[in-house]
């Protein structure tokens, strides 16, 4: 019965090789390329990078320990870390996403959101696949919770990215959408090149990073928006697969380094909207970061693995706003509710609207030389 030869097996199995294309096109290539317009020279490529990663330790038996984030993945040969973007090959750890963005866009800086950083500016925004957390409500999960071979990646090394940003007239480069910490090397080198060419650099992150790489990053970043997911370790463990305490250390590190930072807190009904937790968080911000850190309470929308909860009631967001103001924070916002009065920036001294907003649009701006036009009260931020 089993008389076929090896040659026959190989011949038969190889029969259709001629027509086999091995490229991967799971996501929309056309939209990305059409958006790039004149930059189509940067053709979409399916390949990954193989650039040695920074911040890792070589161990015995070809293992490595990643030191980028507090997870400190111990990774065997031919395996990847939790983020899926770093791979151990023969005891050397590589980033697979250096210069390989899967998402590019020009966004208003308000979309990040930054409300006290260059209002009305545009940010050339980029991301690669991957994330070092796994939030059950992630809105970008189709790029953050996949491996980089499952996304449509462009070949856009730092210098080319900066050139493109300049061509598009964006004064700011933003690493965002997924989690820039997992494309750390790409962020660092792009920011360094951007700064050299007169652009500014911002990062949108969950802040789950080790102090040493953070300190290095702070040398080239101008502003950071941190998603503070909750104020309990329980939530971090169960809902986003991370830890709270390193994120708090990141916020303190940003303050020490003098990098402008704003905080977003996505209020998820029943999971992180307890009054006591919100009070404790606001008190911590007051004590450790001061009253002038902008705090954005954002509305949750059912998404990804968390579709069984309703959108956050506006009343819950307004209650959170009230708690934060009561704790002494000066700049508290409500996000993802266009038209809400707490989208505006108010002067904490005269209470007048200084920056009026509707969604991502600036309606008016009465801040002059960093001060309230009406009463002269200084307003913290980076205004030009």
């Amino acid at each position: 019965m089993f008389e076929s030869s090896r040659r026959e097996f190989l011949k038969r199995a190889a029969g259709g090789l001629g027509g086999l294309a091995l490229t991967q096109v799971p996501f929309s290539e056309r939209s990305l390329l059409s958006w790039l317009g004149n930059a189509c020279a940067f053709a979409a490529v399916p390949n990954l990078s193989r650039v040695e990663a920074r911040y890792y330790q070589k161990l015995e038996h070809l293992e490595v320990e990643c030191r980028i984030c507090p997870r400190k993945c111990r990774v065997g040969d031919r395996e990847r870390g939790y983020c899926g973007t770093r791979e151990n090959r023969d005891g050397t750890y590589y980033t697979l996403v250096y210069g390989k963005p899967c998402s590019l866009a020009i966004d208003p800086i308000e979309k990040k959101p930054f409300f006290h950083y260059m209002p009305g500016s545009t940010a050339f925004s980029f991301a690669t696949a991957g994330c070092n957390m796994n939030c059950k409500y992630c809105q970008n999960w189709d790029i953050s919770q996949v491996r980089p071979e499952q996304t449509e990646n462009l070949d856009l090394p730092p210098r080319a990215l900066v050139k493109l940003a300049r061509e598009k007239g964006a004064p700011i480069i933003a690493s965002t959408y997924s989690e820039p910490i997992v494309f750390y090397e790409y962020v660092c080198d792009t920011a360094r090149e951007g700064r050299r060419q007169g652009l500014r650099n911002v990062m949108i992150t969950a802040g789950y990073i080790q102090p040493e790489p953070l300190a290095e990053l702070c040398k080239v970043l101008d502003a950071v928006k941190v998603d503070l997911k909750a104020f309990t370790e329980k939530f971090y463990k169960e809902v986003v697969h991370g830890e709270l305490s390193p994120v708090l250390e990141t916020l303190k590190g940003l303050k020490r380094a003098g990098v402008w930072h704003e905080i977003v807190y996505l209020v998820v009904p029943t999971l992180n909207d307890q009054e006591g937790d919100l009070k404790a968080m606001c008190q911590w911000i007051m004590k450790e970061l001061g009253p002038d850190v902008p705090l954005h309470f954002s509305r949750f929308t059912p998404m990804y693995l968390l579709k069984n909860l309703p959108p956050t009631p506006v009343s819950t967001l307004e209650k959170a706003h009230q708690i934060a103001k009561g704790a002494g924070l000066n700049y508290v916002y409500i996000g993802n509710v266009p038209g809400n009065p707490y989208e505006h920036t108010y002067c904490p001294n005269c209470d007048k609207i200084l920056i009026g907003r509707m969604g991502y649009t600036i309606l008016q701006n009465y801040i002059r030389k960093g001060k309230c036009q009406f009463c002269g009260h200084p307003i913290p931020g980076v205004w030009k």
């Binding site: 019965m1 089993f2 076929s4 030869s5 090896r6 097996f9 190989l10 011949k11 038969r12 199995a13 190889a14 029969g15 259709g16 090789l17 001629g18 027509g19 086999l20 294309a21 091995l22 490229t23 991967q24 096109v25 799971p26 038996h61 070809l62 293992e63 111990r74 065997g76 040969d77 031919r78 395996e79 990847r80 870390g81 939790y82 983020c83 899926g84 796994n134 919770q145 996949v146 491996r147 071979e149 499952q150 697969h241 990804y304 693995l305």
Partner: protein
């Protein structure tokens, strides 16, 4: 009066068959080996109790079956599912009328298949062999959820095949402790990197419980011709034992429990600590057997193990 439901009556023990061939010699690039053919035929007849291998295969497959066979090719040509086993499986399937074009050997990435020595063939005549990353294959666009796992499943498994055979290896793995049958399905989802915390527990059990896997995988054949008994899953030549066996069964938990016993025995013979003492306890087996998963039996005393040898 006590009324017992049928499910509470004595259930037969799950059966696991181990067939050894001391003279088998693995060689990369060799696609067919008569000793392997005999090992598999004997394994199938012992497992099913049928005298004729064809009848044994017919218990699982029919001429209309489209059969996927997930290989394990992570570790390159020296430690991947052996080509002679794939060949023998194909012969067994063909013996009951499954068409060659309806037999698909597959992996995550074509690069892994090529490195292991498998010739790629997506749509040409003959046996098919391709990976999920082949153009037009990919993963489901929707997530499938099972316990703590939410993943896109390879379309090879969810869309292409009606039946599935799992063809993994037996390895020590520095995170879950054991990489054998159930862990092989990490290669069937888009985000395996998310499921290595806590020694992969409960994730291995949750992944196996994903409906396309649990419902379609009808047979597991562990390629235990070589066992990586330390510091897997990558190939480390100094810690590979030529065990020269196939392990066959349908209960995924029982199979992995038997594989674990073999792995621990080898480690003990080599004066190595147990996996638990080495810091990688195999936690997922008890979870797979618990009341929320019910994937099979993990207690060795409750498993019928049949051993035989091919000379």
């Amino acid at each position: 009066m006590i009324i017992r439901s049928a499910s509470l009556q004595t259930m037969p023990k799950p059966r696991v068959v181990i067939i050894k061939a001391p003279k088998f010699q693995f060689q990369p690039g060799v696609a067919q080996d008569s000793l392997m053919d005999r090992m598999l035929s004997l394994a199938m007849t012992k497992f099913t109790g049928k005298a004729d291998p064809r009848d044994a295969w017919a218990r699982f497959f029919n001429p209309k079956s489209v059969v996927g066979a997930k290989l394990n090719c992570l570790a390159g040509k020296w430690l991947s599912t052996s080509l002679p086993l794939a060949y023998a499986v194909a012969q067994g399937l063909k013996s009951v009328g499954v068409k060659e074009g309806n037999i698909i050997f597959w992996e995550r990435m074509n690069s892994e298949l090529k490195e292991a020595g498998y010739p790629l063939n997506y749509e040409g005549p003959g046996l098919r062999c391709f990976a999920t990353d082949t153009n037009g294959v990919g993963y489901d666009s929707d997530l499938t959820v099972s316990g703590e796992v939410g993943s896109r499943v390879s379309r090879v498994l969810s869309s292409y095949v009606t039946h599935h055979i799992n063809l993994p290896l037996v390895k020590d793995h520095t995170i879950p402790g054991l990489s054998a049958g159930m862990k092989n399905f990490y290669g069937a989802i888009h985000n395996p990197n998310k499921y290595h915390d806590n020694h992969c527990d409960p994730y291995v059990a949750d992944v196996y419980s994903l409906p396309p896997i649990k419902s379609k995988n009808v047979l597991t054949i562990l390629d235990a011709t070589r066992i990586q008994y330390n510091f897997g899953p990558a190939y480390k030549a100094q810690w590979v034992e030529n065990y020269n066996a196939l392990i066959v069964g349908t209960d995924p938990v029982a199979l992995d429990s038997v594989a674990l016993k073999i792995l621990e025995d080898i480690r003990r013979q080599k004066s190595m600590p147990t996996l638990e003492k080495a810091g990688r306890p195999v936690k997922y087996l008890a979870t797979a057997a618990d009341s929320s998963h019910r994937l099979g039996e993990y207690r060795l005393t409750k498993i019928e193990v049949i051993e035989a040898e091919v000379i």
